[in-house]
Symmetry: C2
Subunit: 418 residues, 2 copies
């Protein structure tokens, strides 16, 4: 029997009516001949309520108890959806993490999968169960305590089940109807993609297209799980949404498939840093310790030689989210005071945004960077920092030009046309 | 280390402030040198909300899914109370039914205990845990699914743990401060009892003093678990509340310890029933099948001999809750139509109440019935049905006299005086 994994997020199961709607979508796949594993989130708002109670009870909470409390939301949804399916005549049952069991590490609140043995669920499929409704986001530690995977963990649960049960596909139902070439709120020319490669999705996800959790895409890529993103709130069929798949499945890819952005970025420059072996580690280790998510890093290798700086010096520039600037500044000042690093000045530009073009076609096409820079130059947008990877080029620009830049790049790479 | 079981009901853990208050009570017992097992209910209202969702989703719900959903409430409370205790520096952790494990039968929604192995919890006590916070009302079936014990199951969970862990005492914290000689709303002369025997408590519980679930008292009696009922909302010490214990612990008992009542009773009489072997079974089997809770039964053994009734006949009277009269009538009429029983008339009196006096001292004192009947006669209260057991005498009377009867009996047996 072919098997399908379907995942529904919190807004898709927000109330009993929506749970009914979800049940109809599941029933249709059963009628098409699939055994189905459904991964559910908590009804939207539930997890936040539980987290609020935990934080009010104990500000520095024991993560094991946090996990035991917040995992309840998914258990409730799993039971209710099973009941609804049974009511419609579909043999279904709910599964909590420990019943499967979903074995994870003991890193509470950010646990990682160890393994998902198929025995128990396969046994019930063999007995006539058609749908296993699994509480997402949770697992059980080696010592038998409830764990959670961290926010967005239900996507990852879905992919892990799809891998373990060798599912034909893993359908992620959400509140958007697919992956777009860029944010449709920025340009109405944004086009829904039929297919996108895992690598491209990874770049788009981490760059701010928050449809799928990065971790779930990484897992899907590793196990070659075909992921489909589609809407809970529309009628859907076999061709709905966007398929995230191995690039081999994508016959002819365009050079660029998406334009991503991240609005709240800051650029920090350390001026006149002593340029010697180990200096990067001396700068970025304290930033990491302080929890600063450094993104782009540029070192202007200049052989400047000032009178008061014998030896070579350099400027070091990096970007991070705006709300981490204070933390970054503190970490640098402390490292300087402790004598671990030396610099003349720390300059912060909090008014920048990041815009990126992404596409696996870039690997075999030259001139993408030139085309990108020309499109921005044509709009008089100044580029402050550039960073590139195999399938992505990102630039930092003044925040006020962000929407303009996204539209200009979407046009320049002709993303409107399929 | 001596061990105490403490149980807190839904109103005692209704919000985060009350959970804080519960934590203080638990902390005090730890400071007194006890290892503590706390059994918690769901925050009041939570279970009803979950039951409402289940019933709205599936009117004829699968009890296994019902149990999986409604047991969530207790899990949440257990986690929150553990967090609160930790915050106060008390080493605590939460336990869900499957983690202990609380092994029960697979009768979902009305499961019965099989056993509660001590290993896991004892192991944690040995490692330094001072408080085990256990989710009440739930367990796990032999096939690894979540079960619940039915309403009020948390009291029973508490007693079962007290028995399994040989606790010094099982303290049931609730919204009343103990067991009274009668309902204080009926007479201000009602007095709180310091001690009461299990058998008396059983009669009082089943007669309408709804402080403790009958099942929990039965279990306590069987395993000689000393039960204490006391208030969550008052300052309490070693002498607070009422101790429910073996009668050996009660030095000198009064003849009568309580006056109980049940307001919404009905009396049903089958007139001129053929009196032959098997007739009682023929009447009461269909009533039981129809879910009628028959309480008192009186057969007027009369050797009447009517012309149209050759052989001996009798009248059969029984009582049941008022809201079951329609069901009882239907069952009788169907049995008559099917020829299983014969009677001339079915007379219903829906305006009766039951009043009972209860006391283990009755066993060794004669004249209790006479004293009771005289007290009622002095108030011109007519007795309609009488039934007696070893430690209880119950009468059915007109409902309008119920409060008067309770007060008269409370005075007649001098229950006001300790």
């Amino acid at each position: 029997m072919p098997l399908l994994v379907m995942k529904f997020g919190g807004t898709s199961v927000a109330d009993l009516d929506r749970i009914k709607n979800v049940a109809l979508k599941v029933q249709r796949e059963v009628e098409r001949g699939y055994d189905v594993i459904v991964i559910v989130s908590a009804m939207s708002g539930k997890t936040n309520e539980l987290v609020g109670w935990v934080e009010a009870t104990s500000p520095l909470f024991d993560a094991r108890e946090y996990d035991a409390v917040v995992s309840s939301g998914e258990n409730i949804t799993a039971g209710l959806l099973s009941l609804r399916l049974q009511e419609m005549g579909v043999p279904a049952r709910s599964w909590q993490g420990w019943q499967v069991p979903i074995n994870t590490t003991a890193q509470h609140s950010s646990a990682r999968f160890l393994d998902i043995p198929r025995t128990n669920i396969d046994h019930k499929f063999a007995e006539g169960m058609k749908v296993a409704v699994v509480a997402g986001f949770q697992g059980v530690s080696p010592e038998g305590r409830i764990t959670t995977l961290g926010r967005g963990g239900s996507d990852t649960t879905a992919v892990a089940f799809a891998a373990a049960f060798e599912a034909e596909r893993c359908d992620i139902y959400t509140d958007v109807d697919g992956i777009y070439t860029t944010d449709p709120r920025i340009t109405s020319k944004a086009r829904k993609l039929e297919k996108i490669a895992f690598e491209e999705m990874l770049e788009l996800a981490s760059l701010g297209a928050k449809v799928l959790q990065t971790r779930s895409v990484e897992l899907a890529m590793r196990y070659k799980v075909r992921l489909r993103v589609l809407s809970s709130f529309e009628d859907t069929d076999e061709n709905s949404g966007t398929l995230v798949c191995d690039e081999d499945e994508i016959m002819e890819s365009k050079v660029i498939n998406g334009v991503a952005y991240s609005r709240e970025e800051a650029k920090i420059t350390l001026v006149t840093v002593e340029d010697k072996p180990g200096i990067s580690a001396a700068i970025f280790a304290p930033l990491a310790d302080a929890g600063v998510n450094v993104d782009m890093i540029v070192q202007n290798i200049s052989e400047k030689n000032y009178e008061d700086h014998p030896g070579s010096v350099t400027d070091m520039t990096f970007s991070c989210p705006v709300n981490q600037v204070a933390r970054a500044r503190k970490a640098m000042e402390e490292a300087k005071a402790a004598g671990h690093i030396a610099y003349d000045e720390l300059i912060v530009d909090s008014e920048v945004a990041k815009v990126s073009v992404v596409g696996i076609g870039m690997r075999s096409h030259a001139g993408v960077a030139a085309r990108m820079f020309k499109a921005l130059a044509d709009e008089n947008i100044n580029i402050k920092v550039i960073s590139t990877s195999e399938i992505k080029i990102s630039v930092l620009i003044d925040r006020k030009y962000m929407e303009l830049a996204v539209q200009a790049l979407h046009d320049a790479f002709k993303l409107e046309a399929a």
